[in-house]
Symmetry: C2
Subunit: 360 residues, 2 copies
C-alpha cells in the first residue's frame, strides 16, 4: 500500500504577490550563454546580483562558469560560506574593517577585487597582509557608462604599478562595465602601454547582458560578467536581448479592486515590483502583463499597482491572477525574502534569497 | 573600581551604507502630530509602513494613538505578535487563506478591515465565522488619488448594507486616502444618504502626512492615518510638510570613487535608496545631500550613486562620509534588514526591521 500523499503544490496554490522562477527557463538561459562563451573562448563569470541564490550560482559553475562576480562583501561572504571558491568583487573596498573582511574570505575562496583609485588599493593592500595568499587585483576603467573607473590608460597603468609593488597583491588585468565600442578604443591604447611597461594583462573583464552575444565583435575581453541573462526581464526584451519566453521570473499578482471600467488594481506595488522604469523612449509602465498585453501598469504605490485596462477587450476580474514580467528583475529579487522555484507549474522549492539586502 | 568598558558606539563607527534613525527627532515628530490630533479631537491611527518597527508603534500608542494601520496581513501578524491590540488593515482581503489569517488575528487584537468591493467583503465575512468576536468593516471610497475605493456614495451604502447583513461583521464607517477637498464633497453626499438609511457612520478615516496638519480644514474625519510624519523625507520637504531638521532617518554613505572633477560615486544605489523620484516638476535626483546642498544624486545603479558635484565648491573626497535624506523613506526602510537608532550620534540600538518584506 502506498502511503497517503498530498498532491504536489502548484504555483496556483500560492498566496500572492509572489515571485515564481521557472527552473527550465533558467537552465536554458545558463546553457545558451555558456555555449556562446565556450564557442568564443571567453571565460564566463556570472554576476549573482540577479538571482542572489547560492543554488543557481552552483548551477552556473557546473555549466562551465569559472567563478562568480559580486559587488558587496556581504554577498561574497554568503557565497563563500555556501561553497563558491572563486569570487571577483567588482567594487572599491575602503577602510580597515572592509579590508579585513576581504582578507578573511581568502580562507575559503580565491579572491579578486577591482579598484579604480589609490585609496581603495591602499585598503586592499593593507588587508592583504592578513590574507591566505595573494589577493588578485583588476583595475576598473570607464567604458562610457558615466559611472566609475579610471578615465584613461595612463591612470590604469599607474594603479597597476602601485598594485605590483605590493607583496600580497597580484595584478591581473583590467575590468569595465559594460562592454561597448568604447571598451575596444580604451584597450587599443591601454594594451600597448602595458606591453611597453612589461606588465602582463592576463584578464580583461567586460560585462552586461545587453551586449553579451556580440561581445566577440565589440572588444577583446577574456572574461564576461553578465547577470540578468539568467532570468531576463522587460528591459532585456526592450533591448532585443531576450524574448518573453526567456523570462524565467514572473510576479504572480491578484486583482484586488476594479474601481471603474478602465482601471484594475493589483496587489503588487513598488514593494513587490520596485519603481524602476525602462529608459525614456522605451515602453511605459512598471512591468509587462503577458496575460493582458494591451494593459499597462500605469502607477504604483507601495502595495497597489494601478492597471490601465482601457485597451483590453477582455478585462480582468477581482480575484483573478496575473503574471508580471518585471522591468528590472535584479532589484525585484532584492525585495523578496523567498522565490518559488517551479517546473511546469509544480513548485519544487521555496528558496530563501540569501543575498537579499547585503548592501554592506 | 569601575569595570572596564568600551566607549559607546558612535554612528561614525558604522560601516556604510547604513540607515540611521534619530530617536529624539522621532519622538518630537510623534508628539507634534499627536498634539495636533488631540487639539482637533481627531483619533490618530498611525500607518506603520514607514518605520515597520514594533518599538516605534508602541511609542506612538503611548503618545496617544488609538491603534495602528497596516496594509498587509503579514504586517498585522508581526504587530499583533509584538503586543499591538488594535489594528486596521486598509487592504482588500481576498480568498480563504487570507480570510483565515485575518480571523486568527482576532485572538490577539481588535481587527478592522477596509473593503471596496463585494468579493472582498464575502471573503472577510467567510473568515469572520472563525473569529473571536466581530471583525470591524470600513468601506473605502476614492478621494481623487485614482487608486481604489468605491466611486460614489451609492456604492458605499450598498457595501455597508451587505456588511450589516453579516452576523460576524460590524460596519463601522468610511475610509479614504488621502484626505482632500474631494473627501469633503464625497462625505457631503454620503453622510445624508447613510443617515436616511438609518446606518450609523461612527468612523470616518482619512490619511496622509502631506495634508495632516490641515485635516480639520479639509474634511470632517474622525480618524487620521498618517505614516511618513514619524521620519519625514524629501517628498515631505518638497510638499512643505516638513523641514530638513524634521527628517529622522538618513542614509550614511561613503564616497568610493572620484572618476572626474565633477563626479563622485557613493556606495548607495537603488538597493539602498530605491528608485523613487519626486513628482515631476519638483526636485531632481534620488535624495537630498544636507552636507553638499549644491550636489545632486543624478543617477543610481544598484550599488552606485552618481553625484553631480559640478556646482559644489568644496568637493567630497574618496572615503568621506555623507548623509542622504531619502526621497521616499517608506520604501527605504523596506530595503534594509536593520536600522540603527541613535541619540546625538550615540548608537542605542540596532533594530531588525521586523515588518520588512511582508508583502503577503
Amino acid at each position: 500500500m502506498q502511503p497517503p500523499t498530498s498532491p504536489p503544490l502548484r504555483i496556483d496554490g500560492l498566496e500572492t504577490p509572489v515571485p515564481l522562477v521557472d527552473l527550465d527557463i533558467v537552465r536554458r538561459n545558463i546553457r545558451r550563454l555558456q555555449d556562446y562563451c565556450d564557442a568564443h573562448h571567453i571565460d564566463l563569470r556570472p554576476h549573482i546580483k540577479t538571482h542572489k541564490l547560492p543554488l543557481l550560482a552552483h548551477e552556473q559553475l557546473r555549466a562551465g562558469a569559472i567563478g562568480i562576480t559580486v559587488q558587496k562583501l556581504g554577498e561574497a561572504e554568503v557565497m563563500a560560506q555556501t561553497g563558491i571558491s572563486d569570487i571577483l568583487l567588482t567594487y572599491n573596498v575602503l577602510g580597515k574593517e572592509k579590508a579585513e573582511r576581504l582578507a578573511k574570505l581568502t580562507n575559503f575562496a580565491r579572491i579578486t577585487v577591482a579598484v579604480d583609485n589609490d585609496k581603495s588599493l591602499d585598503s586592499v593592500a593593507w588587508g592583504a597582509k592578513f590574507a591566505q595568499g595573494p589577493i588578485g587585483v583588476l583595475v576598473e576603467f570607464e567604458s562610457g557608462a558615466n559611472r566609475q573607473g579610471v578615465q584613461n590608460p595612463e591612470q590604469a597603468l599607474q594603479l597597476a604599478r602601485l598594485a605590483i609593488k605590493q607583496p600580497n597583491l597580484e595584478f591581473k588585468g583590467l575590468m569595465t562595465f559594460p562592454t561597448t565600442p568604447h571598451t575596444a578604443r580604451f584597450l587599443d591604447e591601454a594594451l600597448p602601454l602595458f606591453r611597453n611597461a612589461g606588465i602582463s594583462v592576463s584578464v580583461i573583464s567586460g560585462g552586461g547582458t545587453q551586449s553579451a552575444y556580440v561581445t566577440h565583435q565589440l572588444a577583446p575581453v577574456t572574461e564576461m560578467r553578465a547577470g540578468t541573462y539568467i532570468y531576463n526581464d522587460r528591459t532585456m526584451i526592450a533591448a532585443n536581448a531576450a524574448a518573453e519566453e526567456d523570462c524565467a521570473l514572473v510576479i504572480l499578482a491578484t486583482v484586488v479592486s476594479r474601481p471603474s471600467t478602465n482601471r484594475a488594481v493589483i496587489d503588487s506595488g513598488s514593494k513587490t515590483l520596485s519603481s524602476d522604469r525602462l529608459p525614456s523612449g522605451q515602453a511605459d509602465g512598471y512591468g509587462l502583463l503577458p496575460d493582458y498585453p494591451e494593459a499597462t501598469i500605469a502607477l504604483l504605490s507601495e502595495e497597489h499597482g494601478i492597471l490601465d485596462i482601457s485597451r483590453s477587450v477582455r478585462k480582468p476580474e477581482i480575484g483573478e491572477r496575473l503574471r508580471i514580467i518585471p522591468n528590472h528583475v535584479c532589484v525585484v529579487t532584492n525585495l523578496h525574502d523567498h522565490v518559488y522555484l517551479h517546473r511546469s507549474g509544480e513548485v519544487i522549492a521555496r528558496l530563501p534569497v540569501y543575498l537579499r539586502g547585503k548592501t554592506v
